[in-house]
Point group: C2
Chain length 446, copies 2
């Protein structure tokens, strides 16, 4: 017998055991059903796009995996013009531009798919991972009202996921830009200053203030530092800027009004104030977002950074379409969250089967009964399997235990005589004789 090939996993490509996959799928299902509850329609784009489609929207070529056939036929070329998408935004831009005439705007779509990045693998960096995106795309314009939808649905999802408390932080790129301008920072220096602010969580506030001093007097930099921290219930301060801000400059006034409108709408959507922060230190994607920006932190796992981010942009698809397509969107980095939480042992993953019931087969004479009982339960939507292998009863029980199947059904000669089965609840240890005609009721009433 030859030596078996290595099955060592490729690093950066997470793979779960069935018990973990069941938990992962439950999370996908929570995300999907809430996206749909909020009126987002599903779409799916191919994993593969033209290389040019991916690079023209500013993808980092080092991170893009191109495709090439392992071998070509004699008169063929193995190379292709194709590559794997590295996010779901570029494909969305291509999709919306391409199908423009078949879509109704505002177009609300969700997309839950894997993406691939040619990263050097390191802890917490994946080369294949799930993103769960929603976007609302307008044609020519899109109401600010939509900016409140993102925190509303994200709140619902993270509550239901039950992975501890969390905070959704918001900022507005107009407001922060206008505010920096009002301090006398040159427009040409703004991107650099935003870059300094973006580093806050990495270097600490003290260092950020020091770095800001390159553009501002020490005192002003220090005052600014105090402003660039998360604030809960910021409406009072914002009201001042919303009404008086235009006297400072247009961006400050307009930005403040956008934040204020969004915060108020979020409240009406039923999100408690404690979950929403204004954080003027949040910047994000410098050349893409133009208004509201979002980040989400998990209280129990701050080391994960933002697990759900996004914002408002002026044009989704300038490379593909001459129509302006403004939008607002947010993305949940599900693989990163889940792989980390599995490593932390944050979930119960002992149930490695969807079955609620195992029909045991202790006596071959009754095999037809075992099959019928199995079919009966399945026809009543109770996930069930029948133990079909040779093996003593103890082995069958062990199988149920090991897969986390809670109930076993037993039928021996005594039960068969009375048209009954014995149902044993492996969790409570209790057992009960039940008529065959009443098995379904027994489980449906559980």
């Amino acid at each position: 017998m030859s030596k078996p090939q290595s099955t060592k996993p490729l690093s950066g490509f997470p793979e779960y055991l069935p018990g973990e996959q069941i938990v992962f799928n439950r999370m996908i299902s929570i995300i999907r059903s809430n996206f749909e509850l909020y009126g987002f329609a599903p779409i799916e784009t191919p994993a593969v796009e033209r290389r040019q489609t991916l690079t023209s929207k500013g993808g980092d070529e080092k991170e893009i995996y191109a495709l090439q056939r392992l071998h070509a036929g004699e008169d063929e070329d193995a190379s292709t013009e194709m590559a794997l998408h590295f996010d779901l935004t570029v494909p969305l831009a291509r999709y919306v531009s391409m199908h423009q005439n078949d879509l109704t705007f505002p177009f609300k779509r969700y997309q839950i798919q894997k993406v691939w990045r040619g990263e050097r693998p390191q802890a917490g960096r994946y080369r294949e991972f799930y993103q769960c995106d929603i976007d609302i795309i307008g044609r020519e314009k899109l109401s600010i009202e939509n900016d409140a939808e993102m925190p509303a649905v994200i709140y619902k999802i993270f509550r239901e996921m039950e992975i501890g408390e969390f905070t959704i932080s918001m900022n507005n790129r107009k407001f922060i830009t206008g505010y920096l301008q009002s301090l006398g920072i040159k427009t040409s220096d703004i991107p650099e200053v935003l870059h300094v602010i973006d580093k806050r969580d990495k270097v600490g506030i003290q260092q950020m203030v020091t770095d800001l001093s390159a553009y501002l007097s020490k005192e002003v930099a220090q005052d600014l530092g105090k402003f660039l921290v998360p604030q809960q219930d910021p409406e009072k301060a914002l009201e001042f800027f919303a009404t008086k801000g235009d006297e400072i400059n247009d961006l400050v006034g307009q930005g403040a009004r956008e934040i204020l409108a969004t915060l108020r709408s979020i409240k009406k959507h039923g999100v408690p104030a404690a979950y929403i922060m204004l954080d003027l230190g949040i910047v994000r994607g410098l050349d893409y977002y133009t208004g509201t920006v979002y980040e989400t932190q998990l209280a129990m796992y701050p080391e994960l950074g933002s697990v759900c981010s996004g914002g408002r942009y002026e044009n989704l698809a300038s490379t593909f379409s001459n129509t302006a397509l403004p939008g607002v969107g947010i993305s949940i980095g599900l693989s990163r969250i889940m792989t980390y939480l599995f490593d932390q042992g944050a979930f119960e993953t002992k149930n490695s089967s969807p079955s609620h019931v195992l029909v045991t087969t202790m006596d071959d004479t009754f095999i037809e009964d075992y099959r019928s009982i199995t079919a009966l339960l399945r026809n009543n939507f109770i996930p069930t399997e029948m133990y079909a292998e040779e093996g003593k009863f103890e082995k069958q029980l062990k199988y149920a235990h090991s897969k986390g199947i809670r109930h076993v059904i037993i039928m021996g000669e005594d039960e068969k005589k009375e048209d009954k089965v014995l149902i044993k609840d492996l969790e409570s240890g209790q057992q009960q004789q039940v008529k065959i005609s009443e098995i379904t009721t027994y489980f449906l009433e559980k």
Copy 2:
């Protein structure tokens, strides 16, 4: 403004509009829930495997897409040892071998994922498509009872998909091989003869009989031809071979008993006999399947050929593991079915939003009410969106129509005064005033 880039789709990579995607996802959901009802656990493997893993299990290198980064850093190599999986069986073999000690056997898993094949695109051939696989894997051995599970769950799924009538055809490789041997065909010629039989549906029975005459007398070939056709209710004939077959040779006897046991168990699982055929002309993957083989035909679309195939194999993973891992499995080629059926107009795809309700916004003064009503419905699990753009009422109605949203909620001054809304059913055209406190009940009772 520069000329926009092409968004022409890459051929061989199906992509759906939202209305189609909603139908596609409903099918995925039917498949998933039935797989789980039958006790199959979900797993997911990375799309990417080691090249060696894929080629060592007999993948056609021309069909495998290898990965290479578009650009590498200075001291790096852009090429990788990785490639995209072309089916879900090779990854399963690697997965089961790798995680052997963490899995409980028999291991029942389902896997619904995309696979990629470097095909020259042509009608009905895809380069990216979904496969929906189930397999039951034993360690060292696996009961024949499991062979009945495949048709049982497939029957349930295709019934629920409502794409017309269908037939699940079965054969047994032992039986057909033993039978051919009994006619005097040399063991070394059997693969060639099976290859001839496999061509039956392409070339027709007459041509197959002619081709068989190269190995048999004309008369025997003609008799064999009559035997190699689909047979409903074949139990009587099989009973003869099951009891007397061993006198012909071991394979005939054992094969007949396996088919018979499987057919009988399928019946007990509640599958009507009309859906199951014995077809001795079904051969499939010559060097892989060793016992039962399955194919599934859609009555309305015979031109699609088999849309769901599989079988029993002696060893899943000889390249990765020294433990024998016998199994039985089946795979639904969902993308091929759905893309074809969409082209045929077989589905109603006008609903391009999951929303049941659109809350219209005819009067800005009531915006907070509109938000609250929207939140109320969502909190009661009724998929809802609020029209947030500027636009007259007619435009809002048109939006609902165009997305296939059935109900619109209207609140003007009159309704507001009485704490009511007007609910209009766009399908029936009827409308009704409903108290705000009773909106949820209205929809939940629908």
